[in-house]
């Protein structure tokens, strides 16, 4: 396992009046704050709040339009494991689950070195850890949505990064898969890794993420300890800024926009 290369609580990423976007269009404006080593930080907010943009900005996919990101030790882009939204993976490409998960070894073995026995074992262990045993040789196009997400988590396990960014890891997942994956996130937290995840389900946030950042309409609403931040007031402001769907401010209902999709037979 990689050393997590820092003392819990030491600064990892500092945002200074950060503005991020695509082309010239800003999707996230005026974010100031600090991610610390060992944080499990949930980024919540309605669609279009700039959640994914923040993660993409940290890994340099979204453009830096203003302000700056200060990267402390172990926060170089190449040391970060970024788990994209499922839709960004071409699941019609003909490779097996095992080959896909082995992508996580890229930083270790590069383009040419062969997978040794140790690497094979790591890949198999990761596949088992996410509950996909028996699916090693299955083409990724035959997996359900939940299974694809499990596979993405397995690749992240193999990457063994100190900093992990998860973009919508629970979108359209059945409850059991979501619960399994959140268990893995809490484990990463115990191992001293830093995790940033965009989420919609506030129950998951409360259960697994000690810290929360609320965004709305491209601006930060609140950032701090989850218990103190996820207040009806903040949530109301978040929804209010998002537009007409603003619910009653007192509701602690999930931020998710619609009923969660249930994928049949997602868990193996």
């Amino acid at each position: 396992m990689t050393s997590t290369a820092g003392v819990a609580g030491a600064p990892l990423l500092s945002f200074h009046d950060l503005t991020l976007g695509y082309g010239a269009r800003a999707s996230l404006r005026g974010l100031t704050g600090e991610v610390r080593f060992g944080d499990l930080l949930a980024v919540v907010g309605p669609n279009g709040a700039g959640k994914s943009t923040l993660l993409k900005g940290i890994v340099g996919v979204a453009a830096l339009l203003g302000g700056r990101i200060e990267r402390h030790r172990a926060a170089a882009i190449r040391d970060i494991a970024y788990l994209p939204q499922r839709a960004e993976i071409d699941t019609s490409f003909p490779i097996s689950v095992q080959d896909f998960v082995a992508m996580g070894l890229w930083r270790r073995i590069g383009a040419w070195r062969r997978l040794g026995r140790a690497e094979d074992l790591r890949v198999d262990a990761a596949i088992a850890q996410v509950g996909l045993q028996g699916f090693e040789a299955v083409p990724i196009g035959r997996l359900s949505g939940g299974q694809v997400q499990r596979m993405l988590f397995a690749r992240t396990v193999v990457q063994d990064a100190a900093v992990i960014l998860l973009d919508e890891p629970c979108a359209a997942l059945d409850e059991r898969t979501a619960a399994d994956l959140m268990t893995l996130v809490r484990e990463w937290g115990r191992e001293g890794r830093t995790v940033l995840a965009t989420l919609h389900d506030l129950d998951q946030v409360r259960a697994s993420f000690p810290r929360t950042l609320i965004l709305s309409g491209g601006v930060p609403v609140a950032w701090g300890e989850t218990a103190r931040i996820l207040t009806p007031d903040n949530l109301g402001r978040s929804r209010g800024a998002a537009g007409p769907e603003a619910g009653s401010p007192g509701a602690s209902a999930p931020l998710r926009e619609g009923p969660a999709l249930r994928l049949a037979a997602a868990a193996p």
Binding site: Y22, G23, V59, G60, V61, I77, R78, I80, Y82, P84, E88, I89, D90, S92, F93, P94, I95, S96, D99, F100, M103, W106, R107, A111, W112, F135, V138, P139, I140, G141, R142, L143, S144, Q147, A265
Partner: protein, 291 residues
């Protein structure tokens, strides 16, 4: 049957040269085609092959029907277009195929205009449909050289290329490998199109690249399987096309591409993976398995 198969090749040197050239092309172009199809870039390969024409035509204006001059011109034009389109796709919101669609039309018009200023209609036909029965030493060396470079490149870049196809973000975050892989892929694709241009002309150059790759989708599910089937289809189509053209006096380039087209049609009907006949049968072991 045997005589029909071997007769023309045993008897005529130009048939043997055509066969060697086509088999070299069959080794290199179909694997590239497989990746193009998987990345939904088949239309783009068509646009690139057209972009080669004005370059080759410029070489023709300078040095006549000389392989090195036309190849250099074609390479230059094709690479320029491919790299520009690649950069445009990476830097702007315009998708690669959209930016290439413009080149497609402009290039073919410019190419035809350029050739016509100096050449005859016969020259123009050579440009458009190739001269597979008149491959000289230089052309054969080009085809063989391109096949060699392509196979070596595939061996070197295979893993990175697969990752780049499945999850483009992943490599981009891991260093410069993504840009190198993408751009070198485009370069090798252009190289193959320039080689194919010698044999099949600008209008059919893509044929031996894309048709076998599309046909292979109906037979194989793994990437190595797809590549193997595509190479086989291209080689069989080459032999069949040359024989048919000899026996029935058909133009050779179109005969080869028609043969590949026939294999594609048969694959679509009878293919093991999602072929129409199979799909129509009840209780097929289909895509629903394993979930």
């Amino acid at each position: 049957m045997i005589a029909a198969l071997f007769g023309p090749f045993a008897e005529f040197a130009f048939m043997r040269r055509a066969l060697v050239g086509c088999l070299a092309l069959s080794l290199s172009a179909p694997p590239i085609g497989v990746f193009l199809v998987l990345r939904r870039m088949s239309l783009m390969s068509d646009a690139m092959s057209h972009a080669i024409m004005p370059g080759a035509a410029a070489g023709f204006l300078v040095a006549g029907l000389s392989v090195p001059a036309m190849t250099a011109g074609g390479l230059l034009a094709g690479m320029t277009v491919a790299v520009l389109a690649g950069l445009v796709a990476r830097r702007t919101i315009l998708r690669e195929d959209a930016s290439l669609a413009a080149f497609y039309l402009v290039s073919i018009a410019a190419g035809v205009a350029l050739v016509s200023t100096r050449g005859s209609n016969v020259d123009l036909l050579h440009f458009l449909f190739g001269t597979v029965l008149a491959l000289d030493d230089e052309a054969l060396l080009l085809l063989g050289g391109v096949a060699t470079v392509t196979l070596v490149w595939l061996a070197v870049a295979y893993r990175a290329l697969v990752i780049e196809c499945v999850d483009p973000h992943f490599l981009r975050l891991s260093g410069p490998a993504s840009a190198v892989t993408h751009l070198s892929f485009l370069a090798v694709a252009v190289l193959n199109l320039v080689a194919a241009f010698q044999a099949l002309g600008t209008l059919l150059a893509v044929g031996l690249m894309i048709l076998p790759a599309v046909a292979a989708r109906f037979w194989a599910e793994s990437l190595p399987g797809l590549i193997a089937v595509a190479v086989l289809v291209a080689a069989v189509s080459s032999v069949a096309g040359l024989c048919l053209s000899y026996l029935y006096g058909l133009p050779s380039g179109p005969a080869i591409i028609l043969s590949a087209g026939a294999v594609y049609g048969a694959s679509m009907l009878f293919g093991r993976v999602g072929g129409l006949v199979r799909t129509g049968l009840p209780g097929r072991p289909g895509l629903s398995g394993n979930t």
